[in-house]
């Protein structure tokens, strides 16, 4: 067992599961989406991205790209949140909430691709 692989896969799958946790629920209802969960998703995604740094293989490049996409989506979601609550002080209207959740939904797609790639790579290792 390769410890590096365990850590690597752990963070990638955690990024996906947390992302799903935040995404699940009614799209415009702030009650269904926890800010701390978004925070955790961002942190875990950041770590997953950094773990993918410096791998020169084609697969490594794809994994890094998906992580970067997820990160961009999640950071825009947090930015929307921060602007709505702290700058405009309009609070989490259904409209804002829908934007945040759909952005995180995009990130989730990227995370799914990431995990699928990981599984493919692992499956290929068998041979």
């Amino acid at each position: 067992m390769n410890r590096e692989k365990v850590v690597f896969s752990f963070f990638m799958i955690l990024a996906l599961t947390l992302n799903f946790g935040f995404f699940a629920g009614s799209v415009d209802n702030p009650e269904h989406h926890n800010v701390y969960e978004l925070y955790a998703v961002v942190i875990v995604n950041l770590i997953a991205t950094i773990l993918k740094f410096g791998d020169r293989s084609q697969m490594g490049a794809m994994l890094l790209a998906t992580s970067l996409v997820a990160l961009v989506q999640l950071l825009s979601a947090s930015l929307v949140w921060a602007v709505a609550v702290h700058v405009n002080e309009t609070g989490l209207t259904p409209n804002t909430m829908a934007t945040i959740v759909s952005l995180s939904g995009g990130a989730m797609v990227a995370n799914i691709i990431s995990v699928v790639l990981l599984i493919i790579e692992t499956a290929m290792m068998r041979h």
Binding site: Y36, Y39, I47, I50, F53, G54, R56, A82, V85, H86
Partner: protein
């Protein structure tokens, strides 16, 4: 992704992760810890506030406790925040610094810089393998002629001297073993602007390997090799190495030239030396009995040249085996072979140093050579001495012995390669000159010194092609006759002549030595000139600038711009109308 970025990213993974962990824990703690607002109610920082607070705390900016003064619980957590985040920053910075100092990283960085520099070169360059004495001398000679050079050297210490050497053009260098084809390619062997490769490492075997790799990997380029052993030399030629230079053979040839035709030797020295240095005086080598100390590659090459002119020779060498071999050959029966080293007076006296005309100290040990010269000089102050100097560092010592001729292998190779690369026609000239009688050389010398004065001339070749001599080519195509002598006129004042002499004219593989002024130039001719740098510049001016050429040939100066051209032709038309018919007819015929 380049190797360098890849290394940076991989090495910085851990510090980044630690930073993110530290920040996320600190931010989370800050959000969860209760505080009190200005109304005395319980208050929690939002994530946004916490990120703001932790960011300025971690970077030690410290804006203070905003928006409300922190509660004790929050202050406690702030302490944790400070220690955790500031330490992670220190760790990250330390890691960055150690990465910069890491030898692997530095190597990757220099290689990266080298390939970037190599990619940027867009003029033809010459790849020099080996940055020893010869390589350094060559790099200087090439860059002074504005030829780009690239260096590959195995020894990193030697390569470190590269940035200190003061080259007029930037010379990129890479550390690598030239025997490895991969490294040669990295050094630019297959670069489309690589014109030649010069193998001047100390080992013949390495040079041979370089020659093979070059011929296989890039057959177009010119390969020049240094070789000191016959076997390697033949091997190198066998697969098409363009030039193989044996310093001992080369020196022996020059020595023979100096011995039998001093003026030809002087001519050779003037034309192949470093330009713009002062001229040397001719060397007169006495005929008579010669002694050779050290019968290695150097001694043998010189011996062959000496016996060609039936000079009596005595050899001193410590090797018994060499003596056996020497005495067994019938052509050596007139000459003596004494066993000994030569630096003791006894052996030298035995060899007849007191009556000898000259002595060659040619062992591969500099201390022995110095000692031989000094002992021999004491026994016979009139002796003509030739010393072989193996190490550049000993130059001062050898100069102090006042040996009449100093033989430095690296200098000889550098001179030969410089001549080869600067002006290929020069080799043809020297080969042809060698077969002329001494009288011819005397005339050539007096002509050169009359025109050039006291300095070694610059050598340049002009090719009468559209690309290199635009104006001249154009004018010749119009059917006008321009002679060799015309080009020697000064384009600033045509009655003055440039300080320059035409040495050789090449036309369809025919060579004409010292072409006289009245020979008409034809398109695609190549002419070798020597002269002052000013003369070279002026001549290039004449070749490419139609106005200068017109001026020299006393042709009419034609205006360039549109308005002037119109005005000019208008004036000319009027002018012609006013002149009588006969004159007009003359004008007309002249034009065709």
């Amino acid at each position: 992704m380049s190797v360098v970025t890849s290394i940076i990213l991989r090495q910085m993974r851990a510090p980044f992760i630690i930073l993110i962990m530290g920040y996320s824990i600190a931010i989370l703690g800050m959000v969860l810890t209760p505080g009190i607002d200005d109304q005395g109610n319980e208050w929690h920082m939002s994530i946004f506030d916490a990120i703001y607070f932790v960011s300025y705390t971690a970077t030690t900016i410290g804006f203070g406790e905003i928006p409300y003064p922190l509660s004790s619980a929050q202050r406690m957590w702030a302490l944790v925040t400070i220690y955790v985040t500031v330490t992670s920053w220190f760790y990250a910075l330390g890691k960055t610094l150690s990465l910069i100092q890491d030898p692997t990283f530095r190597e990757a960085l220099t290689k990266n810089t080298f390939s970037r520099n190599l990619k940027k070169i867009n003029e033809s360059f010459i790849l020099i393998c080996g940055f020893g004495e010869t390589g350094t001398a060559l790099a200087h000679a090439l860059t002074e002629r504005n030829i780009r050079a690239v260096i590959i050297e195995r020894d990193n210490d030697k390569l470190q001297t590269l940035p200190l050497a003061d080259f007029p053009v930037f010379v990129p260098g890479i550390q690598g073993d030239a025997r490895d084809p991969e490294q040669l390619i990295r050094a630019g062997l297959q670069h489309k602007k690589c014109a030649a490769i010069i193998a001047v490492t100390a080992s013949d075997e390495t040079n041979l390997k370089i020659a093979i790799s070059s011929k296989l990997l890039n057959p177009k380029i010119c390969v020049i090799c240094r070789s000191e052993l016959r076997d390697f030399e033949e091997n190198m030629f066998s697969f098409g190495t363009d030039f193989v230079i044996n310093p001992f053979q080369t020196f022996a040839n020059i020595f023979a030239m100096a011995m039998h035709s001093p003026s030809l030797h002087l001519l050779y020295d003037w034309l192949t030396g470093v330009p713009n240095t002062s001229l040397t005086n001719p060397v007169y080598i006495q005929e008579g009995h010669w002694i050779i100390c050290g019968f290695g590659r150097f001694g043998q090459s010189l011996y062959k040249q000496l016996i060609r002119y039936e000079t009596p020779v005595t050899i001193i060498d410590p090797s018994e085996a060499k003596r056996e071999k020497f005495l067994n050959k019938p052509e050596n029966k007139n000459n003596d072979f004494i066993i000994g080293s030569g630096f003791d007076a006894h052996t030298l006296k035995l060899a007849g140093v007191e009556e000898a005309a000259g002595l060659i100290s040619g062992s591969d040990n500099d201390s022995n050579n110095l000692s031989i010269i000094m002992t021999a000089r004491e026994l016979n102050p009139e002796l003509f001495t030739v010393a072989r100097q193996n190490k550049k560092a000993n130059e001062k010592l050898f100069i102090a012995t006042h040996a009449n001729i100093l033989m430095q292998p690296s200098e000889i190779i550098a001179r030969k390669i410089r001549t080869l690369l600067n002006s290929p026609l020069m080799i043809a000239f020297l080969n042809k000159a060698r077969h002329q009688d001494p009288e011819w050389a005397n005339i050539a010398i007096s002509r050169l010194s009359g025109v050039l004065g006291e300095e070694r001339p610059n050598i340049w070749t002009i090719s009468v092609t559209k690309k290199e001599a635009k104006a001249l080519h154009l004018t010749l195509n119009l059917g006008r006759v321009i002679r060799v002598g015309n080009l020697l006129q000064d384009p600033r004042a045509r009655e003055n002549s440039l300080k320059s002499v035409a040495l050789l004219l090449k036309r369809n593989n025919k060579l004409l030595l010292m072409p006289t002024d009245d020979i008409a130039i034809k398109a695609d001719d190549q002419i070798l000139y020597c002269g002052t740098p000013v003369a070279e510049r002026s001549m290039k001016w004449t070749l490419n600038d139609i106005h200068s050429l017109n001026y020299i040939m006393t042709y009419e100066d034609t205006p360039d711009s549109f308005v002037w051209r119109k005005l000019h032709s208008y004036i000319k038309r009027n002018d012609r109308r006013r002149r009588p018919r006969a004159q007009r007819h003359l004008d007309h015929s002249k034009k065709h």
